[in-house]
Amino acid sequence: MGVATYIKDEKDQVKEVILQSGIKVKPVYTPKDLEEVGFSYQEDLGDPGEFPFTRAIHPLGFRSRVWTVRQYTGFGTPEQTNERFKLMISHGQTGLNVAFDLPTQMGYDSDHPMAEGEVGRVGMAVDSLKDFQIAFKDIRLDKIGTGLTINAIASVMLAMYQAMAEGYGYNKKEISATPQNDILKEMVGRGAWIYPVEPSVRLIGDTIEYSVKELPKCNPVSVCGYHIRESGCTPAQEIAYAFLIAFAYIDEVRKRGYEAEEFVGRFTFNLNIYGNLWENVAKFRAARKLWARLLRDRYNVKDKKALFLRGIFGGGGSGMTKQQPENNIVRGAYYALTAALSGAQTTALCSFDEAYTIPTPRAALISLRTFQILMEEIGLRDTVDPLGGSYFVETLTKQMEEKILEEMEKVERIGGMVEAVKTGYVQKEVAKQAYEYEKKLQKGEVVKVGVNKYTEGVDMEVELHPYDETWAEEQIKRLKELRATRNNKEVQRCLKELRVAAETGKNVMPYLVEACKAYATVGEIADVFREVFGEHKEPSIF
């Protein structure tokens, strides 16, 4: 999905190309186009590593540092996840990105009735610090950075990561974790929210504030346009919404007396690649430029490094198809190429079997090899921003910038992202577009190979990553043992203190670290917040 609309004449000649963000592509671009959009090298590009960083945030790009590959990994029990982590590291993966199962993401212990059938299914099950100790055993936490793909209770997982690392003898100052920690996008896309908007945003503020003080190498929030795009928005909206979400978090921390400059350099972004190559490249280049400018102009950020848009640009699952699944390997390779041409710091791909279920080891390795081939064989390390200066790409980058600003303005007119999420405005926009897109796809107005053109009738079956119900039994057994053997008085004391902190508006992070160290469970901790904050109610969009 995500392909442009092509209008053709009866001879199959392309008459019009309309990108998803609404920009029309011309058949030829010349210096005149650059003139028309008012392109200036100094203003719009600058050298790589120089403001506004359109070309790259580092002067030498991939020459000085190749991208980090961080495939989303985790399933079953912590033992199995640990094994898979080590496998991927032994094959050259340089960062981790932990997938949690849904009960963990939603703050339920593995033996909660809502967890039935889900324990260890789409990620690793975590009930307590014990599980983290197993999952990260023998992994060099001072060398490898870890993404924690969790949002509603990201604060708890960041605290647990610190508790685990300290238990293994690391200093909290040397560990690097990136909890995803973006709840507003969960409310628009992905759906793994628990608490209402305001307390959720406050928890994110707590993690940012705590990281600034205590965890200098952690990136406390990864703002995700990715999932909103998966839910149906356009590339321009993806960036616009991600920026507005980031502003909501910046404003939350500024309320506490900090300047954006002190913490915004820790923000990272998680952005999506599928569909039209040019639109994506222009999107990322425009996004780098705009982010730097907006931070400078709105938040008076001066420190160069704090103006960098850093992020994981990852191949989107929506681009993958269930039909003719092997084609997804090819798609993945082009998405990876797009990431490289866009100057991604970190990248990951959905594997070819992910339209069915979480990846098999073979599929995950093919994704990893895709990145390695690009960097080692194809020449993507040779020079920075190889598309820079192209009449077409520079014109499109300017046009994308305009589109992003237009989309931002629409949301700001109704009071910003928190308001737009509370009222359901963004959710409705995104769902409506998903519907319009789906109709076009079904009518064949946009083409998806193997889906609505070049179909084969019967599709091959892929080998599926298996799910084993005994994982849940094993996990629940460990949980029950834990509850019976830990110091329950200490657990109760920690939970009580956590509750007071949550109620009185204190930063909850130090209390979470203590509770994790006492082996309080994820469900017990999440329930304290449920009782204090209540639960989110979705606005109706129908």
Binding site: M114, V122, A192, S231, T357, A431, K439
Partner: protein
Amino acid sequence: MEERRIRVLIGKPGLDGHDRGAKVVAFALKDAGMEVIYTGLHQRVESIVNQAVQEDVDVIGLSIMSGAHIPITRKLMELLKKEGLEDRLVLVGGVIPSKDVEVLKGMGVDGVFPGGSSFDEIVSFIKENAFRKRKMAGGY
């Protein structure tokens, strides 16, 4: 006399939060003239069945992307039986491997529509079967 509009409940059971498919299908059924009630995310199966009773729906559609479609659907079918709602048309959509389609049908699911199914297929299946099933059971 004009037949009343078909009433459809679209449910998102369990913890999976991917609702693009559910919402898109809801729009399509609305455009096809049906009344659509969407449960929202994170529903217990019990609550979906309660809403089916309260709203007196003809069709119950589940959207499941996490892979837990078999245990969840099994539970739904048990509860529907208990509540005497076996005359309602039950549909399951989402990430459903083809080997599971027959398993679901064996549980009594009327139609399985994995990701990529067309709106036309879903709409005509519902139009053909929704009232027929209830009438045959004598419930409507």
